[in-house]
């Protein structure tokens, strides 16, 4: 007989000995928590029930339990207030009435206060492609047996590529799989730092220690931000060790691999590198298309394939930017009551994607490209057909077109009085090539960075 069955049997007997109203009032939501060496522990919803039952019904309960199990010697009572929480509570989290009428709610409150996870992020909505498949595979393995396989799990990659989605998705999945048996906690570096500061201020270091050390899965986002805060790093190091040594899963994200976080102490670095490192790279063209299509479905945006291709081509860096474009499209769509056409889409993309500042000149682009390939700007203008120079020249043409929207004849003239068809050919070739060749794509993104920085 398990505890629940035993308690049901005992309740049936108790019910016979006291009046119906008393039974309903005092024993609703009661529960047999454990039976240990003849001591039964009964949980009650509040102190009123505890006081009353302790003083009036203790003998009856003990008698009922003893009839079931003769070894029962004693009954103790505890209050467990969380029991009164309706079972549907957690599931309905995030959906609050008024929301449909346009009244917005604080997005921070949609987060589960116990785990700090946003229920929006799930592993099933994570779109997998070449650039993130390793990270995703590791994530899935960890979800299956947290703490045992890849520990710590260190995931890194640029802004807006889905790190947070992946690690929060892991948290939500673990939570769904193991329910309350596994305690998951997601924390941003900022929050962790604030907790430490709070603890120092209020002399409650113990609270922070307790808060983090009794966790089974700790997920910490953007670790690079705590690297230069000494007291926080110190505390994190102890937390990390405590968890790691008791086989608790630690999941860490950062914008770069541990060896490139300059302020990170060696002992931390070696700890991180002792686990599994996985990177999330820039998504290739196919992955971008897949992500756009998934998000379109999620958000209910209506968009033609033409628009999908356009977005995938124009926004190469960040999924967050793609999301921005789709949100804007949704806004237009709702406002006008019709799907966005390609013209508007182009306009939106232009607005959202970080356009270069207006003062970027053609010469600046040519110089930067030349600088990147460590050749002289003159080489680009000259007639040389050496492979490296030809490629960089084509990239320069592509960038002039892509970033400044200059005309083909002008681009041709600018780069050594070439024919406008040469410029056209270069632009088409490069824009096709970047979808196939990740290496080239990365190079172009790096050059664009340099151009925008100056």
């Amino acid at each position: 007989m398990n505890l629940e069955q035993a308690w049901q049997a005992a309740l049936a007997e108790i019910e016979l000995q006291i009046s119906r109203p008393n039974f309903v009032t005092w024993f609703a939501e009661s529960k047999l928590l454990e039976k240990n060496e003849g001591v039964a522990l009964v949980a009650l919803p509040n102190n009123f029930a505890k006081e009353w039952i302790e003083s009036r019904y203790q003998k009856i309960i003990l008698g009922a339990l003893r009839n079931l199990d003769e070894t029962t010697k004693k009954v103790d009572f505890v209050v467990a207030s969380a029991m009164s929480r309706p079972p549907a509570a957690r599931a309905g989290l995030g959906r609050l009435q008024n929301d449909d009428l346009g009244q917005q709610s604080f997005s921070e409150l949609k987060i589960d206060p116990e785990t700090n996870l946003n229920p929006r992020y799930t592993l099933s909505s994570f779109v997998v492609g070449k650039s993130n498949e390793l990270a995703f595979a590791a994530a899935q393995a960890i979800v299956q047996s947290p703490g045992h396989k890849y520990n710590p799990f260190f995931i890194y990659g640029g802004v807006g590529l889905g790190k947070t989605h992946l690690i929060q998705g892991m948290g939500n999945e673990i939570k769904a799989l193991y329910k309350n048996a596994v305690k998951v906690r997601y924390v941003s570096s900022e929050k962790f730092t604030n907790d430490v500061i709070w603890a120092i201020k209020n002399k409650r270091m113990e609270t922070v220690k307790e808060k983090y050390r009794f966790i089974d899965v700790l997920i910490i986002d953007d670790i690079q931000f705590i690297a230069d805060k000494q007291a926080t790093v110190e505390e994190f190091f102890h937390t990390f060790n405590a968890l790691y040594e008791s086989n608790k899963q630690v999941i860490i994200s950062s914008d770069r691999p541990p060896r490139f976080i300059p302020t990170l102490e060696d002992r931390m670095r070696s700890r991180f590198e002792g686990g599994v490192l996985a990177d999330i790279g820039y998504p290739d063209y196919e992955l971008r298309c897949a992500i756009i299509k998934t998000k379109i479905e999620e958000k209910g945006v209506i968009a033609s394939d033409e628009i999908v291709t356009l977005i995938a081509n124009k926004i190469q860096r960040s999924i967050r930017e793609i999301e921005g474009v789709l949100n804007k499209m949704l806004f237009y769509q709702n406002k006008r009551g019709e799907p966005v056409n390609i013209k508007t889409a182009e306009h939106i993309i232009e607005e959202v994607s970080e356009r270069p500042a207006k003062n970027i000149s053609a010469n600046h682009i040519i110089k930067t490209v030349a600088g990147f390939y460590e050749i002289s700007p003159l080489d680009l203008v000259n007639r040389s057909r050496k492979k490296e120079i030809a490629e960089s020249r084509q990239i320069a043409m592509y960038l002039l077109r892509d970033m400044l929207s200059l005309s083909y004849p002008y681009i041709g003239r600018k780069l050594g009085r070439r024919d406008h068809t040469t410029a056209m050919y270069a632009c088409v070739k490069i824009s096709e090539e970047i979808n196939r060749n990740q290496n080239l794509n990365h190079k172009i993104l790096a050059i664009k960075d340099l151009i925008n920085k100056a």
């Binding site: 009123f48 009353w52 207030s81 309905g92 206060p113």
Partner: protein, 371 residues
């Protein structure tokens, strides 16, 4: 039990314990008030099993004893009688109420059937605080909380004691109010801070019952809060679970900061709301270079109206943001002082109302989505 008591004293006592009368039908004794004649006077107790209230009433006790009687019956009698002195006497389970010209026999129950009000044994976390300061702070946040089946933790007021300050916070997820009390008003034996969520109903009672007292003492244990004043003690369960991380909601930056007169904005909101729609929406706008905020609302059937409020503005031009005027009004009503500062960023980010000269109070509200 036998005692003589003044009508007004008894009536006030019954008033204090009134709201803890239970509304459950399952256990009739919860609709009763426990009357005890003790050496020092009379004690009245009620409970609905969420909270219990005990209060002392001055009276001349002839014979010690106790009884429970239905609250409503006793209350109606005490309100109705026209003499000053009332004699209460028990005869078994019957309470005799008599004055010079009136006699009543109320069928009651023995006091042993009345629930035991839980005590807090371990008084290691007690705050002592000016009742005026505390009840005023409660009134400044309590309207922002709302009972919720889905989110029980939002159906309460957070008491966040951080040793150097005490914060009261309430939110219904659409708006949030936070009031900070400085420790100069507080004395404590606590060695560390704590965070507890007190049910909305309990806080309403605290505000109602204790606003006339001098000093309150607040004691916390794992599941309960005890608030006591000179005459009255209130014990209540706490709401389990964790309160959301509300500090993250407080915006750290803004694009526009408006300084304006509170009563002017209140008149504007009140008047303009006449034309607001189903979601209680009104819009505010400000053109760059102008020194006025336009408060505007329109309805398909009724028409439209706009009110100009003089302001001092710092920051970007404000195209348009919609707010629920009731939420805006709630915040404005609770603001102390004449000048308020209203900061915002855009129609998807929370806006903040604050008194111009009082950093201890803060009201945050989310706009209505423009579409």
């Amino acid at each position: 039990m036998k005692l003589i008591i003044l009508k007004d004293n008894l009536k006030e006592g019954l008033n204090r314990v009134e709201r803890a009368i239970g509304d459950t039908i399952s256990l009739p004794v919860l609709k009763h008030v426990l009357c005890e004649a003790q050496e020092s006077g009379m004690r009245l107790t009620t409970t609905n099993l969420e909270m219990g209230i005990e209060t002392k009433v001055v009276g001349k006790v002839g014979e010690i004893g106790s009884i429970t009687v239905p609250f409503q019956a006793l209350y109606a009698i005490i309100q109705g009688v026209d003499t000053e002195r009332i004699t209460l006497e028990t005869e078994g389970n019957i309470l005799l109420v008599s004055t010079d010209n009136y006699h009543a026999r109320i069928q009651g129950m023995g006091s042993e059937d009345f629930p035991i009000i839980p005590k807090i044994q371990n008084k290691t976390t007690t705050l002592s605080i000016s009742a005026e300061v505390f009840t005023d702070a409660v009134s400044k946040v309590i309207y922002a909380a709302q009972f919720s089946e889905i989110r029980p933790e939002l159906g309460g007021v957070l008491i966040d004691f951080q040793m150097s300050i005490l914060k009261l916070v309430a939110t219904d997820s659409f708006r949030l109010a936070e009031k900070t009390i400085l420790t100069k008003h507080i004395q404590t034996n606590a060695t560390s801070g704590f965070k507890v969520i007190v049910p909305l109903k309990t806080m309403q009672e605290v505000q109602r019952i204790f606003s006339n007292e001098e000093t309150l003492s607040i004691t916390i244990d794992e599941h309960q809060i005890l608030v006591s004043g000179e005459k009255t003690q209130l014990v209540s369960r706490l709401i389990g679970g964790s309160y959301p991380d509300y500090e993250q909601i407080i915006p750290k930056t803004n694009d526009l900061k408006l300084s304006l007169k509170r009563d002017q904005l209140m008149s504007a909101v009140r008047l303009v709301s006449t034309f607001s729609g189903k979601v209680n929406d009104i819009k505010i706008r400000m053109r760059e270079g102008t020194k006025a905020l336009e408060v505007y609302s329109a309805s398909h059937e009724l028409g439209e109206n706009a009110y100009l409020v003089p302001i001092k503005a710092e920051g970007k031009e404000l195209k348009e943001i919609s707010f629920n005027w009731r939420y805006l009004m709630d915040g404005l009503k609770a603001m102390p002082g004449k000048e308020v500062v209203f900061t915002m960023t855009n129609d998807a980010k929370p806006a903040v109302l604050q008194p111009a000269d009082d950093a201890s109070y803060l009201y945050i509200l989310m706009p209505i989505k423009s579409s």
